[in-house]
Symmetry: C2
Subunit: 694 residues, 2 copies
C-alpha cells in the first residue's frame, strides 16, 4: 500500500491525506482547493506558487518541514532566480516559496496558498445585491510545447498542436475535468493561416488562446500570460468602453466618446427616421459607430501602455515576466468584445436596418445574442476574435436592458424587483425568479434636463439641488462643484434639480396637485413671465448668465408628462403581474444616481414604497457587459432569461390612457401613497387624491 501524508491547506483549512509523491497542486485539487496554472505544469508561469510553512502545528497534530517535500528543482530555481524583486517584496525565500506543480509531497506539510495563486478568481460588483462575479472568460490560454516533426512522425502542424492542447488542457484542468479531444478542437481559418510560421519561429513552444473550449483563435510564440477583452455600452449619446484583463478581471482602462451618430439625429427615433429617408443612411450610421469603437480601442490601449510606462519605465521589448515590466499591450491581443446598447444601437452596429424598430408593430430583426467575427464587422481587435452582442428583448427594450438584468439579477430573487432605466425612453423590468415582465415608455428629454427652459447637463454652474421653504416660498439651491448651499453663480438647472424643484413647488403649495401655478401667493418669485407663469429659483445677480433662472409652467408640464408615463408603465406592469408594490425599486443609469429618491416618489415618478428599498445602481448596462465579458456562463444565462421575459406594449393596454391622465397629478390619483403622504401638507392635496392618503 502506498504511503500517505497529512496535508493542511491554508487559509481554507482544508486537510486530508494524500499519496506519497503527489505534487502539491494535484494534492490541493484532491482536497478541493484550486491552484492556478496556465503553463501546463511546466514551471514557467509561476501562477501556482505556494508557501511551505515550517513548524509543529498542534491543532492539526503535524510537524511541517521543508524537507517533507521534494528539493527545489532546477526549473524552479531558474524561475525564482529571474524574480529577485518578487522575493524581496514578499519577503519570501526560495524553498519556502515553491511552484506547486513541481513540488512533490514526501511527508506531512502545512501549505499556505497566497491570494494570487488561488483559482476561481472573483470580482465584486457593488449593487443592490452586492454579489461576487466569478471570472470564467470565454477565452483561456494554454502553453503548448511540442516535439518538432520528423520523417517518422510527419503529422500536420494543426494536429500536432491540437494534441498538445488536449494534453495541456488536461494538465491545467486536472485529470477529472472533461476536456475536448484533440480532433474535436477547431482553429479559426485566419488564425490557421499564420500557424506554420509561428510554430517554427517559436521552436514549437506556443501559447494558444482557446475560445469556448472549442476554437483556437490565437497562437503566440512562447509563453504569454494575459489576454484582453473589451466591454462596450453604446448609448445614444455616449459610447463607453472598458478594457479588461480576461484572466484577472481587472479593468485596465475606461474610455468614452460621444456617439458620433448624434449628427444624424439626437434620439433613436430621429436616427431611425434618418435611415429610412436616406438610402445610405444606415451605412453612414453603421460606419460612424464602427469607427468610434476602433478609436476607443486605440485610446484604451494607449492609456494602458502609458500607465505601464509611468510605473515601469519605457518598454524595452523584453518578454513579460511577473513583477518586472509587463510588455506593452497591442490591440491584436484584445481577443473579444462584448457589446450592449438599445435595440436601435444594436441594429445599427450589426448593419441591420432599424426601420421596423420604429414602425408599428415595432419588431426587431433578432433577439438572441450573436457571436460575429471581428473581421466581419471591421472592428479592429484580433481578427479571429469575436464580437459578442447581448440579446435584445423588444424594439424599445434592448441589449442594454439585458445587461442590466445580468448585472442586477431580478431573475434570481424571491422578492419582486422593479428595475427602471431612465433616459429619453424608460425601460422597465418587473418580477422575480418565477416571472419577469417588461415594457418601455417614452419619457421625453425633460428628465435629463433637455427641453426645459434653463435645463443643462450636470456640469459646473448647474443647479443640482433645490429646496423651497413652505411658509416663505424662498428657495435654497446647490450648484455642481460647490460644497455649500446658495454658493456660486448659477448657469442653469440640471435633471436632479428639475425633479427637486417640481417636488418642492408642489410640497410648498406653489403648484397644485394638477401642476398649475397658484397665482395668489405672497411672493414675487411666482410671476407671469414671458411664456406664462413661472417661479424664479435664482435671480439674475446670482447667476453667471445675468438672467433670472425660473421654473416655468411649461417645464412643470413636461415633467408631469414624463413622470405620468413612467408611473403608468410601472403600475401597468405591477397590475399585469398581480402585484401591489415592488419589494425593491432599482434605478439604473446616471439619472438614478443623482436624483433625490424621496422627491422622485413625492411627484410620483416612481411607485410608492419604503425609501430604503429604492436603490440607484449607476451604469448597470456597462456592468452587465463587463460581467458577460468576464463570465461566459452568464451569456447563456441571459439568453435563457430574455427568452422568457414577457413583453407588454402599453398602447395596447385599454386602461393606459385613463391611467396616464390620473397619473399626471401630484403625486397621482390612482392609488394610495402611504410612504410619502406625511410629506404633503394637507392643504395642497387635490380633494380626489385625498382618498389615497389614508
Amino acid at each position: 500500500m502506498t504511503q500517505k501524508h497529512n496535508i493542511i491547506l491554508q487559509p481554507s483549512g482544508s486537510r486530508g491525506q494524500v499519496e506519497e509523491g503527489m505534487s502539491v497542486r494535484s494534492a490541493a485539487r484532491e482536497l478541493g482547493v484550486d491552484i492556478e496554472s496556465i503553463c501546463a505544469e511546466n514551471a514557467t508561469c509561476g501562477k501556482c506558487m505556494v508557501l511551505i510553512e515550517e513548524g509543529r502545528f498542534e491543532k492539526y497534530n503535524i510537524e511541517s518541514k521543508r524537507e517533507n517535500v521534494s528539493p527545489v528543482s532546477a526549473d524552479e530555481a531558474a524561475y525564482f532566480s529571474r524574480r529577485p524583486k518578487l522575493l524581496k517584496d514578499k519577503g519570501w525565500e526560495v524553498g519556502q516559496v515553491r511552484l506547486s506543480c513541481q513540488c512533490k509531497i514526501h511527508g506531512d506539510v502545512l501549505i499556505n496558498v497566497p491570494e494570487e495563486s488561488r483559482g476561481n478568481k472573483q470580482i465584486v460588483r457593488k449593487t443592490a445585491s452586492n454579489r461576487e462575479i466569478e471570472i470564467k472568460p470565454s477565452i483561456r490560454k494554454y502553453l503548448v510545447t511540442m516535439s518538432p516533426p520528423n520523417l517518422e512522425r510527419p503529422i500536420a502542424d494543426w494536429e500536432r498542436l491540437a494534441k498538445g492542447i488536449e494534453t495541456s488542457m488536461q494538465l491545467v484542468r486536472g485529470a477529472d475535468a472533461k476536456v475536448p479531444r484533440w480532433y474535436e478542437l477547431d482553429i479559426d481559418y485566419q488564425c490557421l493561416r499564420g500557424l506554420s510560421k509561428t510554430l517554427r519561429d517559436s521552436k514549437w513552444n506556443v501559447t494558444v488562446s482557446v475560445w469556448q473550449d472549442k476554437e483556437v483563435i490565437e497562437v503566440q510564440a512562447g509563453y504569454v500570460e494575459d489576454s484582453y477583452g473589451a466591454a462596450v455600452d453604446i448609448g445614444s449619446t455616449t459610447v463607453a468602453l472598458y478594457l479588461c484583463n480576461l484572466r484577472t478581471g481587472e479593468v485596465l482602462a475606461s474610455e468614452s466618446e460621444m456617439n458620433p451618430q448624434i449628427v444624424y439625429g439626437e434620439d433613436v427615433m430621429s436616427r431611425i427616421q434618418y435611415s429610412i429617408e436616406h438610402p445610405d443612411g444606415l451605412e453612414k450610421l453603421h460606419k460612424a459607430i464602427i469607427s468610434t469603437l476602433n478609436k476607443l480601442l486605440k485610446q484604451a490601449v494607449k492609456t494602458v501602455n502609458e500607465k505601464l510606462n509611468e510605473t515601469f519605465g519605457l518598454d524595452t521589448g523584453e518578454t513579460s515576466t511577473r513583477l518586472t515590466r509587463p510588455a506593452s499591450i497591442k490591440v491584436e491581443e484584445i481577443l473579444e468584445m462584448v457589446l450592449v446598447g438599445n435595440s436601435t444601437m444594436h441594429h445599427v452596429l450589426l448593419n441591420l436596418h432599424p426601420k421596423d424598430l420604429g414602425l408599428a408593430p415595432f419588431v426587431p430583426t433578432i433577439h438572441k445574442s450573436m457571436d460575429i467575427k471581428a473581421r466581419e464587422l471591421g472592428i479592429h481587435i484580433n481578427s479571429s476574435g469575436n464580437i459578442h452582442v447581448l440579446p435584445t428583448i423588444a424594439s424599445f427594450v434592448g441589449a442594454d436592458t439585458s445587461a442590466m438584468i445580468l448585472a442586477e439579477e431580478p431573475h434570481k430573487q424571491d422578492e419582486n424587483w422593479l428595475l427602471i432605466d431612465v433616459g429619453t425612453n424608460a425601460e422597465l423590468i418587473l418580477g422575480n425568479r418565477k416571472r419577469l415582465v417588461c415594457t418601455s415608455t417614452p419619457t421625453g428629454p425633460a428628465l435629463e434636463g433637455a427641453h426645459v427652459e434653463y435645463g443643462m447637463r450636470a456640469a459646473p454652474g448647474a443647479i443640482e439641488r433645490v429646496q423651497i421653504d413652505e411658509s416663505t416660498f424662498e428657495p435654497k439651491y446647490k450648484i455642481v462643484g460647490e460644497d455649500d448651499w446658495n454658493k456660486g453663480k448659477a448657469k442653469g438647472i440640471c435633471g436632479s434639480a428639475i425633479i427637486d424643484a417640481v417636488a418642492e413647488l408642489f410640497r410648498a403649495g406653489i403648484v397644485d396637485s394638477r401642476g398649475k401655478f397658484k397665482k395668489e401667493l405672497s411672493t414675487k418669485r411666482v410671476r407671469q413671465g414671458e411664456k406664462g407663469w413661472e417661479y424664479v429659483i435664482a435671480w439674475a445677480e446670482e447667476t453667471s448668465i445675468g438672467r433670472d433662472i425660473p421654473m416655468t409652467q411649461q417645464d412643470v408640464r413636461q415633467i408631469q408628462l414624463a413622470k405620468a408615463a413612467l408611473f403608468t408603465a410601472s403600475r401597468t406592469l405591477l397590475k399585469r403581474s398581480g402585484l401591489q408594490d415592488p419589494d425593491k425599486v432599482i434605478l439604473a443609469g446616471g439619472f438614478g444616481s443623482y436624483i433625490d429618491k424621496e422627491k422622485a416618489m413625492l411627484i410620483g415618478l416612481i411607485p410608492d414604497c419604503d425609501l430604503k428599498n429604492v436603490y440607484a445602481v449607476g451604469n448597470a448596462a456597462g456592468d452587465g457587459a463587463r460581467i458577460a465579458l468576464l463570465n461566459v456562463e452568464k451569456r447563456n444565462e441571459i439568453d435563457a432569461v430574455t427568452r422568457k421575459v414577457e413583453r407588454f406594449e402599453l398602447p395596447t393596454d385599454p386602461e393606459f390612457q385613463n391611467q396616464f391622465m390620473l397619473a399626471t397629478s401630484f403625486p397621482h390619483m390612482s392609488e394610495p401613497f402611504p410612504h410619502i403622504a406625511h410629506l404633503i401638507p394637507n392643504r395642497v392635496v387635490d380633494p380626489m387624491a385625498k382618498n389615497f392618503m389614508k
Copy 2:
C-alpha cells in the same frame, strides 16, 4: 376505441393497420415507408404524390376504393389543375393521384408510392464495389409560413422564423424525429442582414435552407424546391467541377478547365518552389485557382440554363413549378462546394503556404476537413454558403486520396485492397476495415506520356495500343479514333501504348529483363538511333509527322524507374502490413482506365495478382468529392478514417533502395509472379528472375 383500417403500400409491400383519419403520408411513415415532402404538408410542393389503387386485392384480402380516403381538397385540386402536362404524361387522373399529406384514410386502401415520391433517394456509383449512395445533403430546405407580427406579438423576425422552422422540420421529418429547438438554431450573419426585407416582401412565406440542421444560410421568398452544390477536384493539370442538385443528386453540369497555376510550374514541386522563391508567389497561385473556380461556376450555371432553354424555351420569369419550365438557376443558389485536391492544391486553395509540404520532414499545415464561408475565400457561390475541404493525409497524400477512399471504401472491406492513384506522383492506400496504410512515391511524368521521346496525350493521332510479334518482331498498333489496327496516321504515343510497347518489347525478347536492347536481332526495326538504341513502332510514311516513331532506350529507362518506384511502394506497404498480395488492386484516375492491366502487370507496374481482381475506377477523387457533397455523414466518416490511416515514408525504409534496384528489372526480381509467368517466353527471363517463375 378508434377504428382501424388496413393499408398496403406498394411497391414495398409494407402493410399494417392505421388509425381512422390519419393522413396517408403519416400512415406510410408508421409503416416504415418514407414519403418526400418539403412544403411542411401545405399541399404546395407535390413531392408526396401517391396513387390510390382500386380493386379487390385477394392477396391482402382487402377491397381498396377511392372513396375510402377523404375527397380531393380544394388545395389538391388547385395543385393538380396547374399541372395538366404531368397528369397527361403519367396517364393519371385526379382522385387516383393524391397528395399524401392531404389525403386522409377512412377505409382500407392499397397505395402505390411512385419512385419520385419515395424518400431516401440514392445514386448508384459504379465502382469496384458498385454501391448505392444515399442522398443526405448538408443542406435541407423547409417552407415556413408565419403569421405577421402585431402589437400583441411583436417577437423579432429571426425568432418568428426560427419557431416556424422548428414546426416545419418536425412536420417534414415526422413527430418522432429529433429536430433542434428553435432557440438552438442559428442564422449566418450575412444572411440575417437580408432577413427582414425578405420576410416582408414574401408576406411571411419563405423557404429556408438549413445547413447541418443548425444554421440558416439562405431565406428565399415563397416556395423554392431546389438548391445546388458543386463538387470540385483540383488536379495539378485540370480542375473539374460537377454542379449537382442537392435534393436529387443529379449532376446538372460537368465543367473543366486547365489549372491556371501551370504557368508557375508544371508539377507540384515546381509550384512549391515558385511560392518559396517569390514573395507574392502564394498569392498569385491562390488567386489563380480562385478565379478559375469562379469561372467554372459561371460556366456550369450557364450550361444548365442553356439546357433549360433548349428543353423548355426561354425563361419567362415564372416561378418554378414541377414539370413546367424550371426557373433559371443563379450562382447564388449554389449553397455549398466540396473541394478535393492533392496537399499542395489544398494548401494553395486555402492560402496556406505550401513550403513545408516540399521540405523535409514534409508536413502539411492541417489534416482535418474544414468548413469555410465562401465569402472568406472569395468564391462566388452564395456568400453564406460553405466551402467544405476534405482532409489531407500527408504531404503527398492529399484530399484527393481521401476522396478516393470515400469513393472506394477500403475501410469497409474484409479483404485487403490496394488503391493506387497514378500521376506524376503516385499515392497508394492498402488495407481493410481493421487497418489502412498509405504512402506515396514520385513516378515521374513518363507514365502519362510526358518526357518520352514521342509521347503525347491520348488525342487523335496518338498510338494507344501496341502489339509485337515475337517471331517477326513486327508491330501492330491502334490509333485513337480509329476502329481498326494499323489504320490511320500516327502522330505520337500516349501513356497506354508506352506501357504496351515496353511490355511487348520485353515479351518479344527485344529488350532483356534489365531493359537493355538486344542488338543482334534480325530486324531493321531495332537500330542505333540518334540517342542510342531504339525500336521503330511506325515508319515515317505511316505517320502524319513524316518521321519514324521509335521507342528509345531512354524511354524504356524512364518506364523502368517509374514502375520500380510504384512496385516498390506497393511491396513496402504489403510487407509492412504483413501481407503477401492484395485481394484487389484498384487503379484510380485516367491512367488506370486506359492501360492494359495484363501488360502493366507483365512489366511489374502493379503487383502480381489475379487479373480479374484489378479494377480501373476512373476519377475516384471527383466521385468522392460528389459523395461528400451529397451525403453529409460521409464527411465525418472520412475524417475519422483518415485520422487512423498510417503513413509510411519510403525514404525512411532501409530496404527501399535495395528493393528499388531489384524492381527495375522486368517483371522484377524480388518475388514470384505466378499470374503472368505464362506470358513470358523462357528465353527472355533473367536467370535471377527464374527463381520466381515456379
